[in-house]
């Protein structure tokens, strides 16, 4: 099976290229990037073939592509791939507005190709453990969730992450969709209301998007969930950030830290303290699911529709933050 990568704008592409190469029977055919310098840089770094254009990559007739462009540029690349009859795994958030997201869903449906949204937390083993615990019924009634997906402000990785036009927003757009998706998935219920407050106190001199965000979601079944989507981890924190879920249930409280499986590492020469992650690789399992869905000619575990729903929740958060009032869904 032949898979290509369209754009290296998102840093996750650096992980996915290695994930693809680790899957037996998958040929990573190469990469294309509209920024030739960036394309050349990563082609060299990963010893990959560089196609001069996205069209040239698609002309190679891959079975599927991973799209890792800036959020606002997902749509044109997804439409190109769909037109070429190529299955798509798109980085999250699926788009920066609902019309773009809808156009992507339509293009892939009409072309009969898979559109999968890159929500790796669905494949996180701690999160899967949490899901089975919830499904076992052993917790009794579940009332709510206290969740966090905090991170470092990502400007050091990619400048466009803090560009409202390209990213669609700041911390809320970057971090809300993972937990919004997990919660929809485990509750099998849709969000009916979003309340959110945002601020720009952290890194106020550096960026003009929001860096702090607190949300409260209400689901159709009455469950509530708060999400802290702030870029509040300091730049010298031992790791990029993390994702935690606390479940409030009849039986008591369950806490899940999806990135707790680390070693504390201190290096005297570099005067550094870092965390070395030793847990399972959710990205690997996610990319493997994309390949399996293509191979088995079935819908993937996480779809473009899931990406649309998560984006809708993030967009509702911006509306709520602007008005100070809860916003009803669907938008």
């Amino acid at each position: 099976m032949k898979i290509g990568i369209m754009s290296f704008a998102h840093l996750h592409a650096e992980a996915y290229i290695q994930n693809l190469r680790a899957i037996p029977g998958v040929e990573m055919i190469g990469i294309a990037n509209d920024d030739a310098t960036r394309g050349e840089h990563f082609a060299r770094q990963f010893n990959a073939r560089r196609f001069p254009s996205y069209d040239a990559l698609l002309a190679e007739k891959p079975d599927g592509v991973l799209i890792c462009s800036e959020n606002a540029n997902h749509r044109p690349l997804v439409e190109m791939a769909a037109a070429a009859g190529v299955h798509v795994l798109s980085e999250k958030p699926l788009a920066t507005n609902l019309p773009d997201a809808q156009a992507m869903l339509d293009a892939c449906r009409q072309a009969g190709v898979i559109l999968m949204t890159a929500f790796p937390m669905r494949f996180s083993v701690p999160i899967l453990e949490m899901k089975s615990l919830l499904e076992s019924g052993g917790l009794g009634k579940v009332y709510g969730f206290n969740t966090t997906n905090q991170g470092q402000m990502p400007i050091a990785h990619r400048r466009w992450f803090v560009d409202k036009t390209l990213a669609g927003g700041g911390a809320v757009m970057d971090h809300t969709v993972h937990l919004a998706d997990i919660l929809r998935w485990v509750l099998k219920s849709e969000v009916v209301e979003v309340f959110a407050q945002t601020n720009r106190i952290l890194h106020a001199d550096t960026v003009d998007v929001e860096t702090g965000g607190l949300l409260m979601l209400t689901f159709a079944d009455g469950t509530f969930a708060s999400i802290d989507s702030s870029w509040s981890k300091p730049l010298n924190y031992p790791t990029w950030g993390g994702l935690t879920v606390e479940i409030i249930s009849e039986r008591g409280i369950v806490t899940v830290d999806a990135f707790s499986q680390n070693l504390d590492v201190y290096n005297q020469k570099q005067n550094s303290h870092t965390w070395a992650y030793w847990g399972s690789d959710a990205n690997q399992a996610m990319v493997a699911e994309f390949i399996a869905a293509i191979r088995d000619r079935r819908a993937p575990e996480v779809t473009g529709e899931d990406g649309y729903k998560a984006l809708e929740i993030a967009l509702a958060a911006y509306q709520s933050a602007a008005t100070g009032k809860p916003v009803k869904l669907p938008l």
Partner: protein, 331 residues
């Protein structure tokens, strides 16, 4: 100056704790009054003090009244003590309603007596240290604050007023007021409150401070006994600090279970050379003898109460509640 005489009303766990605190000051415990005669007798014997038959009888014999009774009794007892010209320590929450608290503050002002609202968290050294670091500017301007306090539902052998929301206000008034007060101490006055509360009494609250800072406050009675934790995290424009009572515990126990007496209201084990409850009462003693300012003003107690009541209202109505500045607080 004659020795200051203290009278304690309420002989549950908080009355006992305050007695131990006063015993560390130059003041004399004149006596106790309470609902449970056995507790009153044993405390009187322990401190060589009197067992007063009534609150009125105690008022004529003391300089300071320390009110450690259930929340709904604070209002009449403070009014009575103020009318008798006694200085007052009042356990948190100051009152059950804003109007009651305003009347109590006015009565103390008219009578020329000092009122300490016992927000003891302001004397716990981990919270004090964090406040000092914020005040010193070491982590810049507070942006996103997370506060959590969780334990089991308060147990009492008989007449459990904690579980009567009319008397205690439930977890959002009785427990979360600690962190509402702390959030306000660190990040200033609160403008907006949005809250959810589970049927098991586990609240999640988003506070929007007038400064633009956001606080996520969690308070729970939904843990199994003997759990008790406190946690906080303050992300500021120049840094970040965090505390977790479980991770930072100096002494931890892992003991096999055995049948023991039912616990009263849980209190964390305190591994310090001085109990923060004692520190608090010593500070009030100084305020009385040296005419220094009261360490936690009645206005602070009122402002924290107002946030708690707004949270209860928001959880009930499903709508955000805007906080209108009270003259007592803004003065």
């Amino acid at each position: 100056m004659a020795t200051m005489k203290i009278g304690i009303v309420g002989t549950g766990s908080m009355g006992q704790t305050h007695a131990a605190g006063w015993a560390e000051t130059p003041a004399t415990i004149a006596g106790f009054v309470g609902k449970t005669a056995a507790h009153v007798q044993s405390l009187a014997a322990q401190y060589g003090a009197r067992a007063f038959p009534t609150f009125e009888a105690m008022l004529t014999e003391v300089d300071v009244v320390d009110i450690c009774t259930p929340t709904h009794l604070h209002h009449p007892q403070v009014l009575q003590a103020a009318a008798a010209g006694k200085h007052i320590v009042c356990e948190k929450p100051l009152a059950r309603t804003v109007a009651q608290a305003q009347e109590m503050i006015a009565a103390c002002r008219t009578a020329g007596v000092k009122l300490l609202v016992a927000h003891v968290v302001r004397f716990f050294p981990e919270y004090v240290r964090a406040k000092e670091i914020v005040t010193a500017g070491d982590i810049g301007q507070p942006a996103v604050i997370r506060l959590s306090r969780g334990t089991f539902r308060p147990q009492k052998a008989t007449d459990n007023w904690f579980t009567d929301p009319e008397k205690s206000g439930g977890v959002m008034l009785d427990l979360m007021i600690h962190d509402f007060d702390y959030a306000r101490w660190v990040a200033g006055d609160v403008a907006r409150v949005f809250a959810k509360n589970a049927a098991v009494e586990h609240g999640l609250v988003i506070l929007t401070h007038r400064s633009g800072a956001l606080s996520h406050v969690e308070g729970s009675w939904a843990f199994p006994p003997p759990h008790f934790h406190t946690r906080f995290e303050i992300a500021g424009s120049d840094g970040w600090l965090a505390f977790d009572s479980e991770k930072n515990a100096a002494v931890s126990l892992a003991l096999h279970h055995r049948q023991t007496d039912a616990a009263d209201v849980p209190a964390p084990g305190i591994v310090l050379d001085e109990s923060p409850y004692t520190t608090q009462l010593k500070a009030f003693y100084r305020a009385l003898t040296e005419d220094a300012p009261v360490p936690v003003s009645a206005a602070d107690g009122l402002a924290a109460l107002q946030i708690s009541l707004a949270a209860i209202e928001s959880a009930y109505s499903g709508k955000p509640v805007e906080i209108s500045p009270l003259p007592e607080v803004t003065a």
